[in-house]
Amino acid sequence: MTLQIELNGVNKFYGAFHALKDINLAIEEGTFVALVGPSGCGKSTLLRSLAGLEKISTGEMKIAGARMNDVPPRKRDVAMVFQSYALYPHMTVEENLTYSLRIRGVKKAEARKAAEEVAATTGLSHLMKRYPRELSGGQRQRVAMSRAIIRHPKAFLFDEPLSNLDAALRVHMRKEIRALHDRLNATSVYVTHDQIEAMTMADHVVVMRDGIIEQQGRPLDLYDRPANKFVAGFIGSPAMNFIPAIVADDGAQVVLDFGKTQAKLAIGSRLSPGTSLTAGIRPEHIKIVAEGQGAFDVPVGIVESTGSATFITSATQPELTIVETGRGGAKSGDIIGLAIEPAQLHLFDTATGRRIEPQSGQVGIEPLRHLHLAGHAS
């Protein structure tokens, strides 16, 4: 596999504002990459930089092996689908589709043939003579996609293309875009703030915050082993529970601090006693058992049922969210026992938010303490 998009140490400043901070990214040909993060995290800036609509301040950007830093958008051979679709309102669907070809001097008949072929695959054939204002949201979305497809570009750039659609259509288009990507064997970069879109569509997810790549990798790797508390809280729905905790005296357990009550939980390996950290547990990894049968008991606060799953919020501080498939019998005010697999417990350094791996038996500050002692001894 060859690298289709390469970013090395890319920075972007808007005056004093540092929008992209030392971004490194390598995207292989044929990969579907999702850039995901809260608004203002720099994901759109990164995408626009790839398109050439923003100029990067420092670093190097390559598309298909060629340096792109100073290349204008029209010479980059990438196609972009905008959030608002950006269809040309004064052109018919057909003219919208063939616009890029006409600029490149493709003959009229040839351009029309290409448009018809693309329209046939995206179901637009009967709408070719319409203007964008006469189309529904979903149809406009298809036109925007078709306009990108017709050019066979080196990369597709998507800027939150589904955010203007209703929920049902969004789920449908998710699959359609992914199918399209596979059929064209294209390289796609997809910006979204919706982690579910990122998880379901992408081969490679890049989580960003404040201009920094917090973590990148395969979707399930991000879910299973989030590198820090931010990624842990961002990926997965409903979001992961975070509870302040302290490593117990034996080093093999953590004490979860619920304010009034505390709960002990095995961590499967040893950490240095007394370290304070943040424990993360995904709602779907907590099993409800009878009172006294689990690791600890909590009172039930709110019970919400969607029919297929039940969401239980505990009456503790901080709250715990628990997802139970099916319809549990728990009612508000009940006391329930909770069982948690040690392997499914995530531990994070409270100060830095970085993930602590119990398996390695190392806590952020522990090696330092050893060094200190060693220095004393000699």
């Binding site: 398109a51 050439g52 609509l53 204008p72 958008p73 029209r74 980059r76 990438v78 196609a79 972009m80 905008f82 959030q83 608002s84 950006a86 269809l87 040309y88 309102p89 004064h90 616009y99 890029s100 600029i103 490149r104 306009r147 050019r151 750039l157």
Partner: protein, 275 residues
Amino acid sequence: MSDQLRNRVMLAVALLLAAIYLFPLYWMYITALKTGSSMFATPPKFLPSEPQWGIYAFVWESRNMGRYLWNSLVIALGAVSLIAVLGVGCAYVLARYRNVWVDIGLFLILMLQVLPASLMITPIFVGFSQFGLLDTPRFAVILAIAAKSMPFFVVLVRATFMSVPMELEEAALVDGNSRIGAFFNIVLPLARNGILVSAILIFMQAFGEFVYSKSMIQDIELQPASVGLNSFMGPNTNEWNNIMAYATIYVTPILAAFILLQRRIVSGLTSGALK
């Protein structure tokens, strides 16, 4: 019920105000058709008893109005073309870039609009005569009008450009067009209505312009209709019917154009505000 009553009262007030506003126009049209004696009759007549239809042909011939209107047309078209060519680019830049200098520029542009023509004419006259521009007086007037009306045009057209989403231009850039190509292919067609409307408003202003023409054009052969109308009115004039007939011939085409285009003009003026 009270809603209906209120609507009726509002309508009555609106009609009354419109009547007051349009009365001079009405008076112009009927005075032109009156005979010399009925013009000065007291109480005045609101409908001419024996309309003098022949007066239009008479005034047209005797005042050589064809020449005057031709000069007005030359000046107005010249000014509009100059303003459109220079102003569209200026408005586009001011619409797309936002910084302190652009704000200062806009402020200065609006300041220019504040200065009245009668104040500006003296320095302009002196300057133009130094450059020898007064040898081509109609061109000098075109320049002066263009300078005077440019701010108005730029501010209006800037609003139109701002209503064209930046993303459309960006889509054109990614689709393979250059900045200039995107401007001509995408932005200009979408801003066409606003530009046309602004140009029409400028045209109407320039068509009736008086101060610059009166001051700079001495040769009667080159004077526009507004100056011609002024020279019609001496201190002891009593041919008001002829003057009103002249005015009727002068303004009716503009009025007709405005009424025909008024829908477009109003929607063009507000389109920037609604989106």
